[in-house]
Symmetry: none
Subunit: 263 residues, 2 copies
DNA sequence: CTAGATTTGTTCGTATGTATC
DNA sequence: TGATACATACGAACAAATCTA
């Protein structure tokens, strides 16, 4: 494949960069910065696409791999999403909760969080959430809550513990959909994500999982029932007790890790 | 150019991945996830280094460029810093709360948050925080709480409303210092930051500010007194009432977070 | 100060998977 | 079904930075 750009230009550009900057930053970072500025300058909106990698490499007079690293930086920041195929490339993304939570998760991952601490928060905010959606759940949402309970039961009967736990957390995410308070929703969803991560890497004995699964099914069923009746007192009491029991189970999870990561 | 790797092996690997996963995630993302987990699992501290690129490529059975993309993701997230030369490579960086909150704030910037919604959360988490630090406040921290109350009073008497509000929030940040639960601390500090940003841009009538300042001084004084006595019931009741009153005042500002804040 | 060793940074060529037409 | 366009990935080589002797 012929190089469409002139090698002489490459040298010129690099010489120029070297002359201006005392210590040359990584080329991929310079390109990433320029792309960010370009996106802002051109007022690119979600759905717009950047030029493809080959074009960008030609524009900046560098190799594909360098452009790829720059695009990777934008992708991690949630600014763009890469797609393959024709009309693929880097597509501008809307500001998403995903990017925000990802950073938070890695931050908290290093702060030795245990279940007790997570539940000290969850126990209160989930009750607040539960109360806030009383009378706001649509028939479709109620139906999906009931369908979720059924899905959890099936996962439990299959013996798929991790999937059962994850599906049970989906129940609470459905409640979030009916809540207007976006800050509360963010915190609840974020904590649900934390718990999803944690159950992935910790395991407990089967009896615990099975008992927990049955408890969750009962609690969730009673909650849906209380929501249908619009019974505020019952919703608050049920969610409070549900959180209390969930915390007790979670604390029984085995926290031992097997490693050998850095050999 | 001869391909030194066996085509058969590559196909086998890909077939395996395709069989398990509906849509194959990018290999560099899988590696990045694994590295993140590994860093947390091995409790790597700032200053520790990851294996070099060649070793990682060998471990994951992939090319160097793929490993580089994964490392780039960690670098963008502020988890590691790349360095050239001997003893170079990916060095673990201290996790900064700044990086985590920045993304979150730009996300919340697009949401229609109002005082009622913020206080629906703050009302509960501040009480949880208040309870969690009972018996854990050092004499130095108690002294600083008292000094803070005095500073707030002086700001109020000077008529410096914004400074008074900001200083009053410092009171709650001092409480955070004594709390072990880092998730709870993060949420409380983040909300305090939201409120600090807001008082910059909103002002109410003087009577409101003055009455609020006097209320805060009384509440904070009573709280410190209850902490010194180790009176759990009083702490919980006082902080609950304090939040209730604070919310009422803040709602008189009748402002939303959407306009102007976070410029 | 120089020379060598180590490790990231960058490039080029190539091959493969994947989405669109 | 095939052709096309694009990202994804591999591998070899060299350049640049940085530490040590």
């Amino acid at each position: 494949m012929a190089t469409h750009y002139a090698d002489g230009m490459k040298s010129q550009e690099n010489a120029g960069i070297d002359a201006v900057l005392i210590r040359r930053p990584k080329l991929s970072n310079l390109i990433a910065d320029d792309l960010r500025r370009g996106i802002a300058r051109e007022r690119l909106k979600p759905g717009d696409r950047l030029p493809n990698e080959r074009t960008l490499a030609a524009r900046y007079g560098c190799a594909k791999g360098t452009v790829r690293e720059a695009l990777k930086a934008l992708e991690v920041q949630g600014l763009v999403k890469m797609q393959t195929g024709p009309m693929g490339g880097a597509e501008i993304q809307p500001v998403s909760v995903e990017a925000a939570t990802q950073q938070l998760r890695t931050y908290l991952h290093f702060l030795d969080l245990n279940f007790e601490q997570v539940y000290a928060v969850r126990r209160t905010v989930e009750v607040t959430l539960a109360e806030s959606v009383i009378g706001r759940l649509s028939e479709d949402q109620l139906a999906r809550l009931e369908a979720n309970i059924e899905a959890c039961e099936q996962a439990r009967l299959r013996g798929d513990r991790v999937e059962a736990r994850r599906a049970e957390l989906d129940f609470h995410d459905i409640l979030c959909e009916a809540c207007e308070n976006q800050l509360l929703v963010f915190i609840c969803r974020f904590i649900n994500g934390l718990l999803r991560d944690l159950v992935e890497f910790r395991s407990a004995r089967y009896e615990h999982h099975d008992a927990f699964g049955r408890h969750n099914a009962n609690s969730h069923r009673a909650l849906v029932d209380a929501y249908r009746r619009g019974d505020r007192e019952a919703v608050i009491a049920l969610m409070g007790e549900h959180m209390h029991c969930a915390e007790r189970f979670m604390r029984e999870l085995d926290a031992t890790f097997t490693s050998g990561f850095l050999g």
